[in-house]
Symmetry: C2
Subunit: 205 residues, 2 copies
Amino acid sequence: MGTKRNQRKRNRRLQIIDAAIKVIAQHGYHSAKMTNIAAEAGVADGTIYNYFESKEQVLICIFEEKMTELIAQATLKINAHQSPVDKVRAFVRNHFEHLQRNPELGKVFQVELRQSQQFFHGYRPKKLFEYLDLLGSAIREGQRAGIFRSHLDSMILQWSIFGTLDELSINWVMSEQQWPPDLDTVPEQVLEIFLLGIESPLENE
Amino acid sequence: MGTKRNQRKRNRRLQIIDAAIKVIAQHGYHSAKMTNIAAEAGVADGTIYNYFESKEQVLICIFEEKMTELIAQATLKINAHQSPVDKVRAFVRNHFEHLQRNPELGKVFQVELRQSQQFFHGYRPKKLFEYLDLLGSAIREGQRAGIFRSHLDSMILQWSIFGTLDELSINWVMSEQQWPPDLDTVPEQVLEIFLLGIESPLENE
């Protein structure tokens, strides 16, 4: 009985989170109202406060909940491969697949979340670090195996790749999905840039 | 006489902008008050409104003014070189030199500016595009010369490098300059990553 009730509470919570993503993506974080989120979720205005004490908390919970999903998904994709190069490929491809499948969440992550004071001042986005560690681990594994340049700082490398993914994602979201025009080829270009570098092979001979 | 008066107005304006950078870096954009900025600039509370109609406008003007300076500086550094590779190197090195010399401005650019609604909704940061075009031009020049891989999309490349610089800068600012620990070696690692790629040369043979 208790478990069933907990499950119902958890479903209701996820329902509110998904509604909040829609409302915040459409109206922007500052203009979005708790009452709009309640309406979109199909719950009474008062109900929403049984789950979240403020709009700021809704935003943080969107981040926590959806990053947990993204981490699980990326882990699955990465673990399907043995080679560190393929693991890096899987991480980068999955990042853009996830964005393409969840454009409203993309808007919340890439634009709206960054306007939260709490998120920038004092909050430690542990889930982001956990996500990036999937990439960092593949990089370090490749370095130990002599596949990746071992004198490169794996943290700098991890944040460089993430910065690239993040900036291209922001562009896609802010341009209303106009640029980059094709999220299927973007990861391939990014992977070539990072794996082989930008210098022409002729030049390196 | 008119010119002298204009010059004085311009100096006063820059003085307020520099004071605003200090105050916003210290208190955060939302907590910073126009009256604090006036005090820091050593002008009367009313005077500041002769120059800027709102705190939001001060923030936008910090961006415009300081990006203009950064563009001028980067152009000078880039133009000292002939080879596209050296131009890319100059751009990346200058970016971190500028951050290291202007940590308070870094805080405003990397953290506070992004919390402005106006900046994200509707405002086109033309100066950012102008700055990035310096990098994009060097890349395209290198592609035409066969030095850089020509099938890579120069816009994706430009935003990838910028994403990397930006993400590492955010880390430095948010960690109170703790990580990355040494902004002199960061550009060299970043340049190696992009120019040569991360795969070990042995692997490519």
